[in-house]
Symmetry: C2
Subunit: 313 residues, 2 copies
Amino acid sequence: MSKLLIVGTVAFDAIETPFGKTDKILGGAATFIGLAASQFNIDTAAVSVVGGDFPQEYLDLLSKKNINISGIEIIKEGKTFFWSGRYHNDMNTRDTLVTELNTLANFNPVVPENYSNAQVVMLGNLHPLVQTSVLNQMTTKPKLVILDTMNFWMDCALDDLLNIIKRIDVITINDEEARQLTGEYSLVVAARKIHKMGPKYVVIKKGEHGALLFHNDSMFYAPALPLEEVFDPTGAGDTFAGGFAGYLAKTQDYSFENMKNAVIYGSTLASFCVEKFGTERMQKLSQDDVAYRLKEFEQLTQFNIELSQKNTV
Amino acid sequence: MSKLLIVGTVAFDAIETPFGKTDKILGGAATFIGLAASQFNIDTAAVSVVGGDFPQEYLDLLSKKNINISGIEIIKEGKTFFWSGRYHNDMNTRDTLVTELNTLANFNPVVPENYSNAQVVMLGNLHPLVQTSVLNQMTTKPKLVILDTMNFWMDCALDDLLNIIKRIDVITINDEEARQLTGEYSLVVAARKIHKMGPKYVVIKKGEHGALLFHNDSMFYAPALPLEEVFDPTGAGDTFAGGFAGYLAKTQDYSFENMKNAVIYGSTLASFCVEKFGTERMQKLSQDDVAYRLKEFEQLTQFNIELSQKNTV
C-alpha cells in the first residue's frame, strides 16, 4: 500500500460568510488534505503541531479516517494555531480577522520513522523552511513531492521558497499567486516560468473557474463544478490538493495523463468541501457521493468531437 | 443545405490594446458571426446596414466567405456605425471611447425573401426591437433562434428585451449580464431564472474562463483555451456565437448533446479571433487550423474517468 505523508497546519478556524458564522471549528491545511486523501484507502500520515487546547475528539476523528497522527505533536502548555476570516458577498475574497500562530510559531516538524519512505509527500502551505525540513527527513527519495504555498511566503520568505521549489515535482498555486511569483499576467507564460524554477508540473487553481495543469507544452483544464450555492470556501484549495495527492498515491501512476484524473478527483472533492462550514461535509462524504459527482463532472466536461469532425470541417 | 440568418452590426472599429492600436477597421457583430459561421459551408445571410463610407472591399470580403449580403442595406448619404475602445492591461475590461450610431440609429432590418425560411436565426446584439422585427419577418418557424444581448439593453430597453427573450430558444450572455438580468450571483441560479423567462438553453460566456451551457438541470462547461497572449478580445463573443450557430445549422441536430459540440466549436473559433486585431485572424483561418485546435481542445479537457474509477473508489 502506498504511503502519503502530509505536512500542514491542524488548526482552529472561525468563519463568517453571508450565510452565517461559526465558533472555533476544526480546520487547517493538513486536516483538509488528510480528509480528502482518506477517500483513497492509502496509508496516510499527517505531520503537524497543536496545543493542549486541541480536543481529543478532533484527533480521534482524523484517526478514524485512517490518518496516522503520530506525527502531530501536542504541546500541552501551548495553544493551537487559530485563524479567523470573513468572506465577502462574492465568496471569492475574504478578510483575515485574526491570525494567532501559537504553537505554530516554533513548529519543528518530525517525520515519523515509518513514513520517511513515503512514496508521495504533500507539503501543505507553511513556512518554506518547515516544508524543507520535512523533505530533508525523507530517507528514501519520494516518487512525487507536491508543494502548496501562498503569496504570504513570496512576500516574506521568497529565497527559502525558491530553494524548496527547486526540489519538488508539482506546485499547486492560485492564479494571482502564479502572477505574483513570475510577474506574468498570462497563466501560460507564468507556468512556463515556474517550470524553469524546478517543478515539472504546475497546477494553477482558479477557484470557481477551475484548475489548470501544465507540463512542458501540454495543458489540462478542469472546470470547477458550478454550484447553486458556495457556503464556505475555506479549505477548498487544500481539499483539491489532498484529492490530487491521494489519487496519485493510490494509483502510483505519476504520468501527465493520470494527473488529469487526479485534477478531476481534486476538483470533485473540493466541490463537496464548499457545501458546508469547515470540514463538516468532508467528514460525512461517502464513496457513493464521490462516484456520483465524478459522473456529473464527466457530463459537465466530456463531448464527442469525433462525431463533430465527421459532420463538419 | 441549411440556412443561417444573421442580424447584427457591420461596422468600423478602432481598437487600442497594450499591444498597439488600429485605425478604423472592419468590425461589427454580424461580421464576426458571419466569418465564424463561414467555416461550416452553410447558406448564410447577414442583415445589417452601413453607410456610403463603407468600403466595397469589405463587402466583397464577406461575399467571398459565402455570406449573402443582399440583406445589408447601404445608405449612401449615411455613415457606418463606428465604435472605438481601449482595453486595459488585463484585457478583460475596456473603456468605450467613441460610439457613433450613424445609420444604425434608424435601422429597419429587411430579411431577404429567400432567407425568411432559414432554419437557424442568430439575433446578434442590437436593440431588442430590431431583433424582434427580424423574427417577425420569418415566414417559416425557425428550428432554432439564438439571441445575443448586452447590459446596455437591460438598462434602457428591458421590457422589449424580455419580450423577445420569451420567443427564443438559446440566449448567449456574459456572466455579469446574467447576474444583472436576474439579480442572482450564482450562475446556476441565474440560468434557472433565465430558463423561466423563455429560453430552453442558456449559454453564459465567461471570457478567459470559458463558457457554460445550461438546459433544465444539465450543464456543460467548455473552458477557453489558455493563451500565451490575448492580442485583441474584440469580437470574441460574436465569434463564439457564430461558431455555435453555424455548427448547429450545419448538423441540424439541436439536442443538448450536440450543443456541447457547438460550444466547443464556438470556443475554438473564439480562441483564434483574439490572436490578431479585429477580423484579421478570422479572415485567414483554414479548416486545418480549426481541426488542429479542436484536437488541442480535446487534449485540454478530456480525461479517462473509467480508468480512475476502477483504480480507486
